[in-house]
């Protein structure tokens, strides 16, 4: 078993004079036995990062350590990693047995041991009855299991998974999510898992590393990322429906501090006002998750008047869209609350539920305040 360390890892693709920085100086530490998810929109460099760890791409700069070994110049054979590909990449001409046996066969394991280990893995993944078939004769879910089998049969130090569930239908994906997580814990193998699906990341990961435009945005547990997003990108990317954002100016009046947007004036506490002004921030992005927006039928203190625009009842909860000037604000309320489109309501944002970001840098003021202390 092993940990994985990426130091200043960079990949630049150059073709016909065009330079694309796919991965930009990433520093990441993956603990032994950890399930780490690399999360980000397509084109953010997460797959390239994974392929560099696998040895399929050569880093332009930086180092990759597996255990204590620098593996930059090592053939995949000597890195002892195994990879599950998005479209499984099974060997079409080989049976399921031979597919799973392949990594052992090329390492010249004795026949008897190969058979024993393949059967063991097949048992674990419940595909023993498929061993004689060709990949073409399998369903997507079955192919998925064979690909997993091929990855785990040689007990590598690290599993690399590149969106392994994205080709499955929604129902099977949810099923496999739980199974994969359980399997990873049972085997205790360090796993780096790439996905663009934030729900997948939240449900499976021990820790998530969010990437955007080649850079690492934030690394943390799902709870940390959800409760304390370090910047606007992470705040907007994680959580469904996505967080509401308002651009506000910070104003100090005789009676206290205010966030002023084009359509509302929102009074903030003395402490928050002081913090923001101490940080020298004049414009902020105020964020609040739809689940944290309180909806009131009558005006109350420090609330904002809005008009109901769309009502989406989901059964367990209802999503409400409000018009606030040119903005749409989403709120999630219990289904018992019946509000009609066009109805006027008052929205309450509780201060301890707010996420506040510097407009200029996009960074959370909590992160800025934290780094100030050090």
């Amino acid at each position: 078993m092993a940990d994985v360390k990426l130091v200043n890892l960079t990949k630049i693709f150059e073709s016909r004079g065009e330079r694309v920085v796919a991965v930009d100086h990433i520093n990441l530490y993956v603990k032994d036995r950890e399930f780490l998810v690399l999360l980000g929109p397509s084109g953010c460099g997460k797959t390239t990062t994974l392929r560099m760890i696998a040895g399929l791409e050569v880093p332009t700069e930086g180092e990759i350590y597996i255990g204590d070994k620098l593996v930059n110049d090592l053939h995949p054979k000597d890195r002892d990693v195994s990879m599950v590909f998005q479209n499984y990449a099974l060997y079409p001409h080989l049976t399921v047995f031979d597919n799973i046996a392949f990594p052992l066969k090329i390492r010249k394991y004795p026949k008897e041991e190969i058979r024993r280990r393949v059967e063991e893995v097949a048992e674990l993944l419940r595909i023993k009855h498929l061993l004689g078939r060709k990949p073409k004769e399998l369903s997507g879910g079955e192919q998925q299991r064979v690909a997993l089998g091929r990855a785990i049969v040689r007990r590598p130090k690290v599993f690399l998974m590149d969106e392994p569930l994205s080709n499955l239908d929604a129902k099977l994906r949810i099923l496999m999510r739980a199974e994969l997580k359980k399997l990873q814990k049972e085997l205790g193998v360090t796993t780096i898992y790439v996905t663009h699906d934030q729900v997948e990341a939240m449900t499976m990961a021990d820790r998530i590393a969010v990437m955007n435009e080649g850079r690492l945005m934030q690394v943390g547990t799902p709870q940390e990322l959800f409760n304390r997003p370090a910047n606007i990108f992470v705040a907007g990317f994680i959580g469904a429906p996505p967080m509401n954002f308002f651009e506000c100016e910070v104003k100090e009046y005789e009676d206290g501090y205010y966030f002023e947007s084009e359509v509302f004036k929102y009074r903030i506490s003395e402490a928050l006002g002081k913090l923001v002004s101490r940080l020298g921030i004049s414009r902020v992005i105020m964020g609040i998750r739809p689940h944290d927006v309180k909806v009131s039928r009558g005006p109350i203190e420090n609330s904002i008047k809005a008009e109901t625009y769309v009502v989406e009842p989901l059964g367990t909860e209802t999503i409400l869209d409000f018009k606030l000037g040119a903005n749409i604000v989403k709120a999630v309320v219990p289904p018992t609350m019946r509000i009609e489109p066009g109805e006027e309501v008052w929205l309450v944002f509780e201060e301890d539920r707010l996420h506040i970001f510097d407009k200029k840098t996009g960074k959370s003021i909590y992160v800025l305040a934290g780094s100030e202390e050090h």
Binding site: G55, L56, H75, K77, V81, Y91, P92, H93, F102, I106
Partner: protein, 290 residues
Amino acid sequence: MTVQRRKYPILFLLPSLIFMIVVGLLPFFYVLALSFHRYRLTWAKPWSFIGLDNYRYLMNWPRFWNSVWNTIVFAVGSTTLEFLVGFALALFLARPFRGRGILRALLVIPLLIPPVSVGLMWRFILHPLIGFVPWMIKSVTGITVSFFQTGEMAMLSLILIDTWEWFPFMFLVLLAGLESLPREPFEAAYVDGASRWQIFWHITLPLMRPVIAVAYLLKFLISLKVYDLIYTVTTGGPGTSTETLSYLIYRETFAYFWMGKGAAMALVYEYMIILFAVIFVRYALMGARR
């Protein structure tokens, strides 16, 4: 309605059907009929029916069997060599590098030269007195090489010339095959720890099998029909050592005007080619299906 439905397809097929009958079926039956007769173009006598005599004669005619053997040696030799050269080049050029496009284009040139020109060109290049290659070998090593003096050397020379002309065909087909292979199994094998040789042996070769079979079959069938090269380079010599079946048929029929015997040989030749075609097609298709 149903009558019309049945009538129209036949109506539309009729022109090509008539065409096929006129250029395909009629000549075939003409040749078949001819092969049961004694008929020499230079004799005043009309066709005389002799039953299977032409075939019986062929079975006991060493020169006929010699030409069958030569044809097979030539076809197997040239196709195999072309496959090896073409596949090696395709494997090498399937990877991206600078100037790959130009190199690919250059490699295809031999295929574009008319076969008769190829034959004449090489006949000059390998000529014992005025040829460039024998002169070169002589000035470097001091050894005099005659490319057409013995039967073995002549056959080898023909195979090499054919290889020069036809390896681009193998190269193109196999390259197209290689480039259409999915990339993922190769990456999977690489991460699984396979060496280059293991990837070639366990992944490339099995995945390429159907393409290889089809390319080999096509070129083998083309080689079986070789005529122009023999005519321009060796005219079947020395002696009859490079006389292939098609060349022998041409000689018997249009040099000596034994039309009946020629027809019989042509039919045997045709069945031989069909036999090989059936074997290979079955193998290739089964390989693809598996």
